[in-house]
Amino acid sequence: MLSQKTKDTLLGPLNVNNPVVVQVLGICSALAVTVQLKPALVMGIAVTIIVAMANVIVSLIRNTIPMRIRIIIQLVVVAALVTLVSEVLKAFAYDVAMQLSVYLGLIITNCILMGRLEAFAMTNNAWDSFLDGLGNGFGYAIILVIVAFFRELLGSGALLGYQIIPDSWYAAGYENCGMMMMPAMALILVGCIIWAHRSINKEEK
């Protein structure tokens, strides 16, 4: 159904060309919202939607944008989309919007967006740009979910707010690792993910 090129565009960013661990884009928010799984999921979905939409819009108007002021135009497109998404989240998922706080607004300066807009949407047609946006959004979301999974499981013994570690373990002396809730552990976890990712994909380099 999909040609090889579109397949690469869509699936490449999930692993080999992952925006977070390979291209090192969008680290700021990836680290900050991963204390729990739920905000991480919401953030991943929000970024996916925004990247895909922004890619389509910029790709449609790419021939009319003057080169000198393209960054400002891209920023305005992204800022408008982020405003929309944040208003929707405030209306339907207020508690998550509050948890994400400034990091929702910081999607505007998320390097994934500017990177994809500059590198892909400015030179490709709308459909390919849409797929590229989806792929990169999912690639970002996967890393967020992995980090958040470990941080929530080890840090508070729960997943998506439901307790996973049985009470009998706590009775037997098991304790939650408070360190996992600290910002520092997010950095170290991402470092370990990069380590694992590079060891697995070694032969392709």
Partner: protein
């Protein structure tokens, strides 16, 4: 005055942009290979924060809040930041070519640095806080103090990391961990060290 001073010191150590909030991480990791270039970027970030944050403070308090338009703040803030970065670039190029030569390549990058936008968004939240709160930004002086403190905190963080990375060149790091991986872990350890400032009271 006391409040502004406390805000200043807190934003350098306890509320450090990098170690507590991960803001400006992309350029932080990408440009911290040598001390010299990272110091250049640190100065540029401090400089732009010092201009954009008070301007956005005035816009928020005297334009957006009275008109009830605060949902437009994202677009307005990013437009102000992009415009000011452009103006700063032109002014520096005209009046100080030597400074432009050292900062030049970093200035356009700063428009999309999360630390700048994050500073403005935190400022927006902190306006709403009770004035007694140590984190509150109640007037333009506080906004300057917060901007300067955040900028210096960012500068310090990037210069420290660049120093460590320069030394780490000689270390025997496992192959898949080299480069980015070990940098993340280094930053994590630095963040742990900075956590000891979190109870700081002045």
């Amino acid at each position: 005055m006391e409040h502004a001073l406390s805000l200043f010191v807190r934003s350098i150590f306890a509320d450090n942009m990098i170690f507590a909030f991960f803001l400006g991480m992309c350029s932080y990791l990408a440009v911290s290979k040598t001390v010299k270039t990272s110091a250049g970027l640190g100065v540029a970030v401090t400089f732009v924060l010092l201009i954009t944050l008070p301007v956005n403070y005035l816009l928020q308090v005297y334009v957006l809040n009275p008109l009830g338009l605060s949902y437009l703040s994202f677009i307005l803030f990013i437009a102000v930041i992009a415009a000011i970065v452009q103006i700063v670039e032109m002014v520096v190029e005209k009046f100080s070519p030597s400074l432009y030569a050292s900062l030049g390549i970093f200035l356009p990058l700063i428009a999309v640095n999360c630390a700048i936008m994050g500073g403005s968004l935190f400022m927006q939240q902190r306006i709403l806080l009770d004035p007694e709160n140590v984190k509150a930004i109640a007037n333009i002086g506080d906004a300057f103090a917060y901007a300067l403190g955040s900028g210096i905190g960012w500068f310090m963080a990037i210069v420290c990391l660049a120093g460590i990375r320069e030394k780490m060149e000689y270390n025997d790091v496992p192959k898949p961990l080299q480069g980015l991986g070990i940098t993340f872990i280094t930053v994590g350890l630095m963040a742990m060290a900075f956590m000891c400032f979190s109870g700081l009271k002045i």
